[in-house]
């Protein structure tokens, strides 16, 4: 599989491996019309970029929620996992979308709406977690301090 040129919000035009391409058949909530994304390492670990291939200006910052919540599990049922072609939760790659306000120390992660990826099939979906512990805005730095 080859590479292609992608227009990205954080890095401009860059060469991307086809294997970084992800299909979101249902889009993301509020962005249902956007289906094609690429997953990029961000310049700062532990962040990633989920860049839309259809609208360059749309890019989400992602984080592995277990970085600051080691106990995180999106609590998905077998029928949820089946929607992205998975059978077991261990096969899934879980991410949370990060919101970074003007004061970045107040950045939050959305653990209630996890972005879950089948990395073999390169299919993703945003789910609504039914676990009531998970909220839309978890303060990352506070929870990271508590976890360390």
């Amino acid at each position: 599989m080859g590479t292609f040129q992608a227009q990205t919000k954080p890095f401009g035009s860059i060469e991307v491996d086809e294997r970084q391409k992800l299909l979101f058949p249902a889009g993301l909530l509020g962005f249902e019309q956007l289906r094609e994304f690429v997953l990029l390492d961000a310049e700062q670990a532990p962040f990633y970029w989920l860049q839309s291939l259809e609208v360059t200006d749309i890019a989400f910052v992602l984080i592995d929620p277990r970085v600051f919540r080691p106990d995180y599990s999106p609590a998905l049922g077998p029928e949820d996992l089946a929607e992205i072609g998975l059978q077991r939760p261990e096969e899934a790659l879980d991410f949370a979308i990060v919101t970074i306000p003007a004061d970045p120390s107040r950045m939050t992660a959305n653990l209630q709406g996890p972005v879950v990826i089948n990395k073999e099939a390169r299919i993703g979906r945003q789910f609504v977690s039914t676990d009531t512990r998970w909220q839309v805005r978890h303060p990352i730095l506070q929870e990271l301090s508590a976890a360390c």
Partner: protein, 79 residues
Amino acid sequence: MLILSRKIDERIMIGDQIEISIVDIRGDQVKIGIRAPGHIKVYRQEVYQAIQQENIEAARSAPGVLPSLDKLLDKKPPG
């Protein structure tokens, strides 16, 4: 929109697999029971809207240059 009147313990069927029951009514609050197959997703509408809103906010606020978590943590007093 179809509007039906129901009393406590009365039910509504949607198709042959989704059953909605009125469990309790107190003042302006109604307790509703929902029985549905696993592939039917049931959530409070505000949860769905909150995630949509947060996605829009996340896309709008994504900065050109990401902050360093390590540096932010160093700046923060413990706790």
